[in-house]
């Protein structure tokens, strides 16, 4: 069951690479939140119930409901146009993200350690590098935040791999998630939207040598 969920998660990354509209990105993020809820539930069922409840609440309330709604609110409030404006055509993005997945897959063959299941490694590393790729190739500042959230999801999956033995690390991952997303989005909603009218990375080119 975990394998199925993780594979669906990987497919959602491919869909992310060809998504045109910001709303699609947000929907994919919400969907990934649901998948992570399932994975966390199956994987961490043995840990202390309070901790498990915290993890599950974080995935379902924070990742699936709060962040997507908040992103939607930001886009409406700052009147961001709905196109994601990639620098590269979607076809190339699709190829690059497929290559990322294949490379992490090949890399995982060199793992000799049997105590960690490889699929976590493959899926999380694919998500992390896909997130970095999205950050690098999209024009809007808000898509940088979206790419960052994909990286966060990848990190969350990675932390689940040792979740039963070290629940502390899963909690830390959640802490990072809440801290970074609230902080990044908070700056966005309060400052960037008010000061920079057209929210585009071209606005961030004043500081240079």
């Amino acid at each position: 069951m975990i394998n199925v969920l993780l594979i669906i998660f990987t497919i959602s990354l491919l869909y992310l690479s060809i998504a045109d509209r910001l709303l699609t990105y947000i929907k994919i993020l919400a969907f990934q939140g649901i998948i992570l809820f399932g994975v966390a539930f199956i994987e961490l069922i043995q840990i202390n119930p309070v901790n498990l409840a915290l993890v599950l609440l974080e995935t379902i309330v924070f990742k699936t409901i709060f962040v997507p709604l908040f992103l939607n609110y930001i886009i409406k409030r700052n009147k961001i146009t709905r196109d994601s404006e990639p620098f590269l055509p979607n076809f190339i993005s699709l190829i690059v993200i497929t290559l990322i997945i294949i490379i992490t897959f090949l890399l995982s063959n060199s793992i000799v350690d049997s105590s960690i299941s490889k699929i976590y490694f493959i899926v999380s590393l694919s998500a992390i590098f896909s997130g970095l790729y999205i950050i690098a190739t999209r024009k809007k500042i808000i898509t940088h935040v979206l790419g960052y959230l994909v990286i966060e999801n990848g990190v969350f999956i990675l932390s689940l791999a040792v979740g039963t033995e070290m629940p502390l690390l899963v909690d830390l991952g959640i802490l990072l998630d809440i801290f970074a997303s609230v902080f990044l989005l908070g700056i966005f909603v309060n400052k960037i939207g008010d000061v920079l009218k057209d929210v585009d990375v071209d606005q961030l080119k004043k500081l240079k040598d």
Partner: protein, 475 residues
């Protein structure tokens, strides 16, 4: 004691945030400095005792904690001058003081922590308080700097977290206390090579944002440029040290595994690229504060070279780190005065500084000699030792390259500083130049003296502490 210090400092920070009264805020800042020093002295008397499971004051933490407490006093003094001359609103001043206090507190806690996850949490918190300081001027450019800093730091902190996860994969026994630095060092021989390689790459890459090294140096440059000069002084000294603490503690673990020479190569490449980047930008840059930020990259690169070379390089690296903290903070304090005279940081707008501020100009000239490591500067001693270490470990080509880069850097630095000091300024109206009180330069003179003293005639205790720091590294 950390149980009293942390809540106490956070309460002071919180009070500073809500308080709008000038008198009271000065008293609170004073109270924080007293608390900081009581804490430092107490910890100095109780070295190597674990507190609350996660905090342990070892020699490295003590050295950097004392450095921080020394730099904190002039930093607060210059912040006070900055805020009063700029006639900032009470609200902005309150946020500034609160952010500085929280920054210094979290830095102290990060130095002391003995658990990699706790270090990570406090490094994350430094990003938060630092961003409030960068955004202090409340304009477009500072917003851009803040956004870039926060975003790059968020990515870098995620990378460190991924590294920590890989490190936990590499452990044989994943128990509760497995990730304290002591436990990692004890189990260093048994960790899995594949995972720990990945762990080192991710942790090192993530920490380069704080360390100001290639690849994530960019955020730090904008931060040091856009933050007010006293805050810039903290960013260029104690905030870089926190990256070093995180890196160095994990390096000690890896130095005791079979990956030692591999990690050295990674560090060497990053260091060499950093010095190269610093050289390229130093020649080109026209903004004094950005030039100083690039100079920090160069010095951090040298420190990393010392670590990679090993032998006497370890000692030299720690010495260089501490001396660099003092010199870089004093230059940044001084640049605040330059800005008040010329209302500009651009090299085109400044000149004839000797005429407008004699004491400040002398400090600037001395700072130039000190930071480029010319005798009698203490940095001369540490750089000489770093080059000796490189020579002894047969990195001759690296050494020649670095010497070439350093020559270029000295030329570029000198060109800009001499323009500031001696060349007449173009289009500068000197009818109502602000008079700077020479008293404001006293702290810089004290720091410069301290650098000479620590470099040329280091007290026995200081040397013992540095040797204690590097005792777990292989010879």
């Amino acid at each position: 004691m950390i149980g009293i210090y942390l809540p106490g400092a956070f309460i002071i920070g919180g009070l500073l945030l809500v308080n709008r009264n000038k008198m009271l805020s000065n008293l609170l800042v004073l109270a924080f400095l007293v608390l900081q020093w009581i804490f430092t002295v107490y910890e100095y008397r109780h070295i190597n005792i674990t507190e609350f499971n996660y905090f342990k004051l070892d020699a490295l933490a003590l050295l950097l904690l004392i450095t921080l407490s020394i730099i904190a006093i002039p930093a607060m003094y210059h912040s006070h001058i900055y805020l009063t001359t700029k006639k900032d609103t009470p609200r902005n001043s309150a946020i500034y003081y609160a952010a500085t206090v929280i920054l210094l507190t979290t830095l102290s806690a990060a130095y002391l922590s003995n658990h990699i996850a706790v270090t990570w949490i406090f490094i994350e918190m430094t990003t938060l308080s630092a961003s409030a300081l960068i955004y202090h001027r409340r304009n477009n450019r500072s917003l851009e700097g803040t956004w870039k800093y926060v975003f790059v730091c968020a990515i870098s902190i995620t990378f460190v977290f991924i590294g920590i996860l890989f490190l936990s994969f590499s452990l044989q026994h994943r128990g509760g206390g497995g990730l304290t630095f002591d436990a990692l060092l004890t189990n260093a021989a048994t960790i899995n090579i594949f995972w720990s390689r990945l762990a080192f790459i991710f942790i090192f890459t993530g920490l380069t944002a704080k360390l100001s090294l290639v690849p994530m140096y960019t955020a730090g440059i904008d931060a040091k440029d856009k933050a007010p000069s006293p805050a810039g002084a903290l960013f260029a000294s104690v905030l870089m040290n926190v990256g070093f603490v995180g890196f160095f503690r994990i390096y000690i673990v890896f130095a005791n595994t079979s990956l030692h020479s591999w990690t050295n190569h990674v560090i060497l490449i990053a260091a060499l690229l950093s010095i190269f980047v610093a050289t390229v930008y130093m020649v080109k840059v026209k903004n004094i504060k950005r030039m100083l930020a690039y100079s920090s990259i160069e010095h951090m690169g040298l420190i990393m070279l010392g670590i990679a070379a090993g032998g006497i390089g370890y000692y030299a690296a720690i010495l260089h780190l501490i001396l660099h903290s003092f010199i870089k903070s004093s230059i940044f304090f001084q640049v605040g005065q330059v800005y008040r005279v010329y209302k500009s940081k651009s090299i085109y707008d400044v000149g004839n500084y000797f005429k407008y501020n004699l004491t400040g100009a002398i400090v600037m000239l001395l700072c130039f000699i000190w930071v480029t490591a010319m005798p009698p500067s203490g940095l001369f001693i540490s750089e000489l030792m770093i080059f000796r270490a490189l020579f002894q470990s047969h990195y001759i080509i690296v050494m020649v390259l670095v010497m070439f880069f350093l020559t270029m850097i000295i030329w570029a630095f000198g060109k800009n500083i001499f323009k500031l000091l001696f060349a007449p300024p173009v289009g500068f109206d000197d009818s109502n130049v602000v008079k700077i009180n020479p008293v404001e330069s006293i702290s810089q003179f004290i720091f410069l003296g301290l650098i000479v003293y620590l470099g040329i005639n280091p007290p026995v205790e200081f040397v013992t502490l540095i040797q204690e720091t590097i005792k777990n590294l292989p010879k």
